[in-house]
């Protein structure tokens, strides 16, 4: 029983990270049909912003040494700024391009950002520790649940609630939903396209920053390609959940997280290194049965 509880919490915590990442990707896909490969690199940039820019082997905490509220605010601000800069410089000129061109542009942008970081910080792994106290376990006997996992799940639930309120209750949120439904018509009805897209990128940056802080606290290391595994699973989560659906993205994120943890536990020890093979395989199987994902979205289907 205690094992089950522990695994469930593990699955939810991992699923939370994937869900938040998938949500950041899904929001932008909604308004401009862009699958943002560079989202993972925003997460990476959030991590690197914690330390002093230098290519020395040892990382010196910079923003990472600030008190928690200032640190969170600063990282969120920096990542948002990068997200908005990406939008302005790379994606806005391509607003009318088709989704394939946007996807490949974000792939190029991802490489650009990664190697920018390599040039500034060097390519080596850097150790960084923020909030080490969060890695201690809850004082419950029999299970090992770090505080961090509870924080991760709590923060995710909080952000999801806020996002739902934003999308359902605020004028900007409603405009964003309208733009996701039909961008051209929404603009004809007075929705300001540039502003909606910029806000979507800002929120996406916020989500990336939060994932960044949670993820870095957990793994305690920075590499220039650290965003890739997250973004790969989040991509897969958005496809499994149903492209264009935010509920689907969240659902897909949790499906991928739960599948990973379940397989980790259920597979024989010798096969555990191959876990991801089964996760990806499972996803292909889901797609085989439901090619449009778990949540089907009408507005995504092309009209003749």
């Amino acid at each position: 029983m205690t094992g089950l509880v522990q695994n469930a919490i593990d699955a939810l915590a991992l699923g939370s990270l994937y869900a938040l990442t998938a949500l950041g990707i899904g929001l932008i896909f909604g308004v401009m049909r862009l699958i943002n490969f560079a989202h993972g690199d925003l997460i990476m940039i959030g991590g690197y912003a914690l330390i002093v820019p230098s290519s020395a082997a040892a990382a010196v905490a910079f923003i990472g040494a600030w008190p928690a509220p200032a640190m969170v605010a600063a990282i969120v601000f920096i990542v948002m700024l990068f997200a908005l800069a990406c939008e302005r410089l790379a994606f806005r000129p391509l607003r009318r391009a088709n989704p394939s061109v946007l996807l490949i542009t974000s792939f190029a942008l991802s490489f650009f950002l990664e190697h920018l970081v390599v040039m500034i910080y060097g390519g080596r792994v850097k150790a960084v520790s923020i909030w080490p106290e969060l890695l201690e376990a809850l004082p419950i006997s029999g299970v090992r649940i770090p505080y961090l996992q509870i924080v991760t799940i709590g923060v995710t639930i909080g952000l999801l609630v806020l996002l739902v309120l934003f999308l359902k209750r605020t004028p900007m949120g409603i405009q964003m939903r309208a733009a996701s439904e039909d961008f051209s018509t929404a603009r004809l009805l007075g929705v300001r396209g540039n502003r909606v897209i910029a806000v979507a990128f800002a929120i996406s940056g916020l989500l990336a920053a939060v994932v960044s802080l949670l993820y870095v606290s957990q793994v305690g290391a920075l590499t220039y390609s650290m965003g890739i595994p997250l973004v790969l699973f989040a991509f897969v989560a958005t496809v499994v959940g149903g492209m264009g659906s935010l509920t689907g993205a969240v659902l897909g994120g949790f499906v991928v997280g739960i599948a990973s943890v379940t397989l980790q536990v259920a597979l024989p020890v010798a096969m555990r290194p191959d876990r991801d093979v089964f996760v990806y395989g499972l996803i292909l199987l889901i797609l085989l049965m439901r090619p449009s994902g778990l949540v089907k979205v009408k507005s995504i289907e092309e009209k003749v």
Binding site: L103, H115, V236, G293, E302
Partner: protein, 381 residues
Amino acid sequence: MAGPDTEGGPAGLVWRLPVVGLRAFWTPIVLSLGVLVIVLAVWASGDTVLALAVTAALIRAVMVIGLYIFIGNSGVLAFGHATFMMVGAYGVAWLTLRPFNKSFALQLPEFLAAHQYPLLPSAIAAALLAAIVAFVVGIPIMRLSGIAAAIATLAVLGMFKTFYSNWSEWTLGAATMPGIPIYVDMWIALAWVVVALFVAYIYQRSKYGLALRASREDEFAARAAGINIPRQRLIAFVLSAFFMGIGGVLEAHYLGTIAVKNFWLTITFILLAMLIVGGQRSLSGAIVGVVVISTLIEILNSLEAGMNVGVAVLSVPIGAQELTIAGLMIIILVFRPDGIMGGREVPWPFGKAGRIVRDPGAVESEHDPLRRGLAQRDSAP
């Protein structure tokens, strides 16, 4: 609309006269000759370091043509083609390593462990293995819509990379596998480029290629015309994987070593950059892209190293090189999304090109802003 690259005409018209053969195969002939000229010039210069770099670029060209067969004709992006390179490279290693080398760390079945097979049949067998893998994974993926398919191919790459890096009995896991016979030089790589060019061109002019290209231009019209899109995409996917497999095989026999980590996003990115910069919608674009990006890589290499070291461009993330290529790619995408060639093939220089264009609308639309606007609107979601 069949696009601007319709010269050569429908197969039925072209095959009647042998004289027209030259014209029908004008694109692959010119491209092959162009590549041959480069190779001859390098051979004549006697610069062995440069020859190695050109060999590497020619191997990339085989891969980019492989990538083009699927992406160019279907209009669907694929990020997972490094999978097929990896399958081909390891497949050929199992076949052509000396039994003595295999006995060290690999636990292969008897027919592989005890024998060393001839090089060319092994190369083809390994590439066929890649094609079979593509066929199996392609069945579910080709049913997906364009963007979802692109991401699903990424899942395939993730899956195979994880699998190969843990399958120590066959692949030595994440370690480098050494001892593969080195025999690929400029001429062998050139021969494969020519084969790939002709096969890719014959395919894109065949009824299968034309059907797929029709679906690229207008999915709904193609479907209404009775084209089974998933099936056409699958055919291209498998053919494309075959040449990616050959690319992996050549790479293995060129470097003499293979490692799983070299078949990941960096090579995917470089190959895609070549295809996009040159122009993903034509075979000529694929070759132009390889030439441009390879030259750029060479220049950057010699700048970074202070001296030209030739071939080592595969895995070292030094930064500036990828940064420049990525920057160039974004600029091309913003200002010229159809790449340098803009979807055109090498034009036939003798006589009026207009005579052999079967679909006048295709050419008109290129110059008619209204039609172009409409085409853009149609291709937007």
